[in-house]
């Protein structure tokens, strides 16, 4: 076992103890820190259900060795809420537009859409489709998800 190390997740320093050095950031978030919002649909970097922000960069946490993320700011879906009822504009739009069915891809999409709208407040349909093309969803056919992104973008633009 390596020495204990600390991860900064959603603004909180978290001690990681008893962790095998080979454990991925996804595994440590889920199984060591109890942050199970980050999902494990493929664990091979193909589906983005495990997407997190590491120092602001959208990343598949399944592809990152946990210990290498020490000293960086990690943001998971659990750290994105704000506003009314603790929901971000993106989260609210996903609920309102029916973008959630089984919900397993949802946390990764929420993180990815936050990342998209931070970089581009007024994305075209093509921009949105390209930005989310790495997020696999099997339930929705993406129609309500794309609608939610539009709604969230509008809501964010209309915020003072």
């Amino acid at each position: 076992m390596p020495d204990p190390y600390s991860l900064r997740v959603n603004g909180v320093d978290c001690e990681v103890a008893d962790s095998d050095i080979a454990e991925s950031l996804l595994f440590v978030l889920r199984e060591r820190l109890g942050l199970t919002g980050t999902k494990n649909a493929c664990t091979e970097g193909e589906c983005s259900s495990c997407a997190v922000l590491i120092d602001g960069v959208l990343t598949c946490s399944c592809l990152v060795l946990s210990a290498t993320a020490a000293g960086q700011e990690i943001t998971t879906v659990e750290g994105l809420g704000d506003g009314r009822d603790g929901l971000s504009a993106v989260q609210e739009a996903f609920v309102a537009e029916g973008a959630v069915q089984c919900g397993f891809c949802t946390p990764g999409l929420i993180v990815a859409v936050h990342d998209l709208l931070e970089a581009n407040a007024d994305p075209s349909d093509g921009d949105v489709r390209e930005a989310l093309s790495g997020n696999l969803c099997r339930c929705t056919g993406y129609g309500r998800i794309l609608a939610a992104v539009n709604t969230a973008a509008e809501a964010k633009r209309s915020q003072p």
């Binding site: 999902k39 664990t43 029916g98 919900g103 397993f104 929420i110």
Partner: protein, 772 residues
């Protein structure tokens, strides 16, 4: 108390669903309203607990050792190296299964753990429990299995005459439909041979769960599944203990689409937990998931259609062979569907259809959205286009001319007594205005995407059309009832139902139904589990809106009657003059009202009901009989751009119309339709489990490619065709499967229209176009 709300043609005492007029008060949160999911907020926050998110003190991780061979004898197994590893708590083999060694949904022919022989790549051979998932995996790899590899049987057509690869033989079911005058021939005939590849359900949430042992020898299992009670039945048999000692609770399910109807890790988790005395968790990796559940049956279909010169169908002949893989799963029901619906939603006076589902050493196949109807829809719709061409007739007009409807008979002889608006669905879809889709200068819209492989000038466009249908609920005499309980206390309703919420939105509908029936706003949904309520049947066959929706409705109505009877007695009026509305008991004359919360304060008004659909019959030796409860149809029109040189396809538009009976939640209905079409697009163009002598070559999302945001076009829903279904609660039909049935065939037709090629196989691969 238990009562039967029998909704039967044969004199059931209580008719339940009576059609659309039973919607009392749509309101803003009841039936018909655009209500959001109760689990929507936790799901967007990452707080919703899926079956892979479970945790318990001191739990162990389970892992499964699987066969690398499609066919082999096991001469010996040495578990010594695994047992010797630090952190390993148990290594189990077939001899450690204390009860029945096999299980199965319809026929128990699948070993819980392989005993002396393996019959497909991925068959479970041994189980390990360890204190870390990597140790469990490494220990499984350390087990030494001495295999004697044998020649696999991988050709379903050859299976019936090949040496049996299982004591139960190589034929799961043969079915023959003989309908009408089989000597009749048409003035025009067209023939075709069609193939459908093996599709995977590819749900996002991997198979996972946790089993917790109890000191009394019982076990508690939290698991993602489609049908808790039938899981319990099979688990208890394998464990050799009473069903009461196996308690299942539905854990959050990350999609299903048929792949969770069969057992995967359920027995294994319980074995490990009971053996170690500790909680055991298992989560399949994605490659293991591809090996660990059944797939959609690959099909080969031979068709000959006969018509007169006006285009009227005279006879359909078909032979259908489904590759069922190594174990039975639901093959016998899938081949029944494929055969019964092989002629499509058309009036066909004569039909001779033979179906075979055969056992091979390929991966087991079973349920997937559309369940047999998907494969034959590709066949019959390809034939209808071929027939239209032979007759020099418009393919939509040909379909309208032959469209089936109420009063007509299926090729099984069954008279259509419910709604079946095939012609309306065709018209609404085919004659919807076509969206103007300019050839885009955005490279992301081109076949092949932004990789600069296709030039817009080299693409050709085509439009195709298809219509399909299938049954709702289980068939052939099976009584797939559902159970639900309702309790109203202090003005709050609590609904208990074991219906598996797999993402489809039953939890939303259950609340909507309770609000409409009871005039309440707050509806609590109790956990879905085996210990508190009877079976809800499977979340499959587009059946839960009808069956568990019907059970919830019936339970609520029984409670409503109890409340109104008590209030009527107190007020000295007739209960017929009272309604529940907006949290009040109100007399229709407006003279009296009371708060429901007061009327039910501290009270326990409750009802527990079983809901049954109308009984069905077995098919006779000619494949004739009233085997199905109800039907739903949908039509799809697809527009595609194709680069013929590279064989690349981009779907630019899908327009659809669907027979829905009655829409209970518009947004959820749209979501089912868009999602179902995406799976149809996948089957048409990209999704196939590639096999090489039984070996799965693409068990990953790198190599098994499902549609992304760049593959799915906008879906235009031209119409929900709302003709309330008699006998269905609120007149609503299940809507999950029809979007997946004809969308593949419409896309294939569009690619044919663009390229002029035959393309008799889906998925259409680039080489089929470029080299075809």
């Amino acid at each position: 108390m238990t009562s039967e709300a029998a909704n039967t043609a044969a004199g059931g005492s209580t008719a339940t669903g009576t059609g659309a007029d039973t919607i009392v008060d749509v309101g803003t949160r009841g039936v018909g309203a655009d209500v959001g999911r109760p689990d929507g907020v936790p799901k967007v926050q990452g707080r919703f607990a899926f079956s892979s998110d479970l945790w318990a003190d001191d739990f162990l991780w389970g892992h499964t050792l699987r066969s690398p061979h499609a066919s082999a004898l096991i001469r010996g197994v040495d578990i010594g190296p695994a047992v010797a590893m630090a952190g390993v708590y148990a290594v189990l083999l077939a001899d450690d299964v204390p009860g029945c060694p096999t299980y199965g949904l319809e026929h128990g022919d699948q070993p819980a753990l392989a005993d002396g022989q393996v019959r497909y790549v991925g068959e479970p051979v041994a189980l390990v429990a360890a204190d870390h998932p990597d140790i469990a995996r490494r220990a499984a790899e350390a087990i030494v299995v001495d295999y004697e590899v044998t020649e696999p049987l991988t050709d379903a057509e050859a299976a019936p005459t090949a040496a049996p690869i299982h004591p139960d033989g190589n034929v799961f079911r043969e079915i023959t439909i003989r309908h009408g005058d089989l000597d009749v021939t048409g003035e025009v005939t067209v023939e075709g041979v069609y193939e459908v590849g093996m599709q995977d359900q590819a749900f996002m949430g991997p198979e996972s769960g946790m089993a917790l042992p109890d000191e009394d020898g019982s076990v508690e299992l939290f698991v993602s599944t489609q049908w808790l009670h039938v899981d319990r039945e099979q688990i208890a048999a394998c464990l050799g203990i009473d069903e009461e000692k196996v308690r299942l609770t539905l854990a959050g399910v990350g999609g299903a689409f048929g792949a969770r109807e069969d057992l995967s890790l359920q027995v294994h988790l319980c074995l490990l937990a009971l053996h170690t005395g500790k909680p055991v968790k298992m989560v399949y990796s994605r490659d293991e998931s591809f090996l660990g559940h059944v797939h959609r049956h690959p099909a080969k279909m031979w068709y000959r259609h006969h018509a007169d010169r006006t285009g009227r169908l005279v006879k359909v002949e078909a032979r259908i062979v489904l590759d069922g893989g190594a174990y039975a799963s639901t093959s016998s029901a899938v081949i029944a569907n494929a055969s019964c619906f092989a002629a499509g939603p058309y009036k066909v006076p004569a039909a001779h259809i033979t179906g075979l589902a055969a056992r091979t050493n390929n991966p087991p196949c079973g349920a997937m959205r559309g369940f047999g109807a998907v494969q034959t829809c590709f066949g019959h719709e390809s034939q209808m286009d071929k027939l239209a061409a032979a007759l020099n007739m418009d393919p939509v007009e040909l379909r309208l001319l032959n469209a089936i409807g109420p009063g007509d008979r299926l090729v099984t002889g069954q008279l259509i007594t419910g709604t079946f608006p095939t012609a309306e669905v065709i018209r609404q879809c085919a004659y919807a205005p076509e969206a103007e889709i300019p050839l885009s200068d955005d490279r992301r819209d081109l076949p092949g995407g932004s990789g600069r492989t296709t030039d817009a000038a080299d693409t050709v466009r085509g439009t195709g059309f298809a219509v399909g249908f299938k049954n709702l609920m289980f068939s052939e005499g099976y009584d797939d009832y559902s159970s639900a309980a309702c309790r109203v206390s202090d003005g709050v309703a609590t609904i208990t139902c074991a219906c598996a919420e797999v993402g489809q939105g039953f939890v939303t509908l259950a609340q909507q139904i309770a609000r409409t029936e009871l005039g309440v706003d707050e509806v609590i949904l109790a956990p879905a589990q085996t210990a508190t309520i009877g079976s809800a049947g499977s979340s499959s066959a587009s059946r839960q809106t009808w069956m568990s929706g019907g059970a919830v409705q019936a339970a609520c109505r029984e409670v409503r009657a109890q409340i109104l009877a008590d209030v009527a007695a107190e007020w000295g009026v007739s209960p017929d003059g009272l309604v529940l509305r907006d949290g009040l008991v109100v007399s229709l004359d407006g003279q009296q009202e009371a708060l429901l919360a007061q009327v039910t304060a501290g009270a326990g008004y409750e009802a527990d009901v079983e809901y049954h659909h109308a009984p069905t019959e077995a098919l006779d030796e000619n494949g004739q009989g009233n085997a199905h409860v109800s039907f739903a149809c949908a039509a799809h029109r697809a527009t595609v751009d194709v680069d013929p040189d590279l064989g690349l396809v981009r779907v630019r538009d899908i327009t659809t119309a669907q027979d829905v009976g009655r829409i209970l939640n518009p947004t959820q209905a749209v979501g089912q339709i868009e999602g179902g079409i995406a799976q149809g697009l996948g089957l048409a163009l990209m999704e196939e489990i590639v096999l090489d002598d039984g070996l799965v070559r693409n068990a990953s999302f790198t190599d098994y490619v499902i549609p992304t945001t760049l593959d799915m076009p906008d879906v235009t829903i031209a119409a929900f065709v709302e003709e309330p279904e008699p006998g269905a609660p609120y007149g609503a039909k299940g809507i999950g499967e029809p979007p997946t049935i004809s969308s593949s065939a419409a896309i294939a037709a569009a690619v044919r229209a663009a390229t002029g090629q035959d393309l008799p196989r889906i998925p259409i691969r680039p080489a089929d176009i470029a080299l075809g």
